[in-house]
């Protein structure tokens, strides 16, 4: 019997564990090295715990609106310990699931930190104190990322300043929270704590929140969040963080004028940086740009047989991208040929309502000089949305003027993050407006509004007047 190819995967996040499983499926002897907890950022301190917290927040909000629907409840606040316990239970169940799946796929797990000592040799500082040398036919790096600390005076070492990880395990919702950064993480945690009664202020240096998302719908979302009492400042730069009693005092430059804000906690959510320092990439000769590993579309690094995927590339930092790249790297490592293409990549923001987009935004279409048209449909004209959230939100389709091909779909509304699946498939299959229109959309659903947005593009929407 021929010897199996040996594959080492560094990192057990959604990039690494998926690569390990896919590698095992394709017949490799797989070893996975993880220095912390299986599941990585995503399962332990990222996607999953934020969404668990947001789910509790959503129930909290729903309680407050129950009377409108004729459901009588006396809201009695929350039991924060139980909120965290439920979140922890979900995380543990999923981490347990991943552990079980790795075992079922006969992946060998080493608990420890890997560093390169040569092109294909690793030294593992194990949790049990021992050091092990490891070498494999193929290596996939999936080392992920950690919160970036911005060079703002007074942030580092300040106990009032927390990162997203700490924000997911606070002892109690703070009475006030200032969020530095209006990206996805900042907006989601702002949404969650706002529901738990925290006074939230978001400070974003750029003129626009959520850089990946369509600007028009982002503006609508901003208005909705402000209506809920979240204060949002854009074009606003945090100058420094100081102390005032047991609170943080945050100096903000608001287009030239300085303003001070007091907050019990300051969430620093300005981005994430790759966690590649410990890897000693240079010893292997792996090309990187200040810690961001460079790869081609096959996820190959500059060193033969070494691949890299996910957040440690410092490009699109999303769990499903890490997983998609993980499958691709494993396939290429095992002699298949697959390339990565981000065109069907959905971006989701778990605000209330949810926000999701795929393909080009109006901003990116303009930037690329594409001749595009827009179909817009407001959700107040959609029966299901009206029932679900009073009809708040809208759907927007961008299409190419020449062939009517779908360039982008953007959804702000209930269930947006799941409805975007249709949009991604439409873009993947190079569908045109006609094909979306010819697909029957069930009544009463929010997806009907996707079809209506396509109809609106052709000035023949049924449930709104066509301008």
């Amino acid at each position: 019997m021929a010897k199996n190819i040996s594959l080492i995967v560094i990192g057990g996040g959604p990039g690494g564990y998926v690569a390990a499983i896919r590698g095992a499926q394709l017949g490799a002897d797989v070893t996975l090295v993880e220095k912390n907890r299986l599941g990585g950022t995503c399962l332990n301190v990222g996607c999953i715990p934020t969404k668990a917290l947001l789910h509790a927040a959503e129930i909290m909000e729903e309680m407050n609106h129950a009377a409108e629907y004729g459901i009588k409840v006396k809201p009695e606040g929350y039991d924060w310990k139980q909120v965290l316990a439920k979140k922890g239970a979900v995380v543990n169940q999923l981490v347990g699931g991943v552990t079980g799946l790795l075992k079922a796929n006969k992946v060998k797990i080493i608990e420890g930190e890997a560093s390169f000592t040569g092109a294909k040799t690793l030294s593992i500082k194990k949790k049990d104190g021992k050091t092990e040398t490891l070498t494999g036919d193929k290596i996939i790096i999936a080392a992920g990322s950690i919160p970036a600390i911005p060079p703002i005076p007074g942030v580092e070492g300040n106990p009032a300043c927390i990162d997203s990880t700490a924000a997911l395990s606070l002892e109690n919702p703070p009475e006030s929270l200032l969020v530095i950064g209006g990206g996805v993480i900042g907006m989601e945690l702002a949404t969650a704590y706002n529901a738990f009664g925290t006074k939230v202020t978001i400070v974003e240096a750029l003129p626009k929140l959520l850089p990946m998302m369509d600007g028009e719908l982002t503006a609508t979302l901003r208005g909705l969040m402000e209506k809920k009492g979240i204060e949002i400042l854009t074009d606003a730069k945090v100058l420094s963080v100081g102390k005032s009693g047991d609170k943080a005092e945050v100096q903000v430059d608001l287009k030239g004028t300085e303003k001070d804000f007091l907050a019990e906690k300051v969430l620093v959510a300005v981005g994430r940086r790759t966690d590649t320092a410990a890897l000693q990439l240079d010893k292997a000769g792996i090309r990187h740009d200040r810690g961001k590993i460079q790869v081609n579309e096959f996820m190959e690094t500059s060193v033969k047989d070494v691949y890299a995927i996910g957040d440690c590339l410092g490009q699109i930092m999303l769990a499903h991208i890490a997983s998609a790249q993980g499958e691709i790297a494993a396939e290429n490592a095992l002699g298949h040929k697959a390339g990565f293409d981000s065109k069907t990549n959905p971006s989701c923001v778990y605000t209330v309502p949810e926000f999701a987009g795929v393909g080009l935004t109006e901003e990116s279409a303009k930037e690329k000089g594409i001749d595009y048209g827009v179909g817009n449909f407001p959700l107040f004209a959609n029966g299901k949305a009206l029932i679900a959230n009073g009809g708040v939100g809208a759907i927007k389709i961008l299409y190419g003027k020449k062939f009517n091909e779908i360039l982008g779909i953007h959804i702000l509304g209930p269930r947006a993050t799941d409805m975007i699946g249709e949009g991604a498939l439409a873009i993947g299959l190079e569908a045109t407006l006609e094909e979306v229109i010819n697909t029957i959309h069930a009544h009463p659903t929010v997806t009907e509004a996707v079809r209506e947005a396509a109809l609106a593009a052709e000035k023949r929407a049924i449930h709104i007047p066509n301008k």
């Binding site: 020449k402 062939f403 094909e435």
Partner: protein, 50 residues
């Protein structure tokens, strides 16, 4: 229905139609598409095969 070949020379064809054409050994570049926006669907390949 419009011709399935776009101005860029690409053929608009459904995945199923493409697989069917490949399996039956049919050149689909000149098949007329009857799907939305002139896309070639499996039915067109089966018709062309007759």
């Amino acid at each position: 229905a419009a011709v399935a070949v776009t101005a860029t020379g690409r053929v608009r064809i459904s995945p199923l139609a493409r697989k069917t054409a490949t399996k039956m050994g049919i050149d689909y570049t000149n098949v007329k598409g009857s799907g939305p926006a002139g896309r070639i669907v499996q039915k067109d390949i089966l018709t062309a095969a007759q």
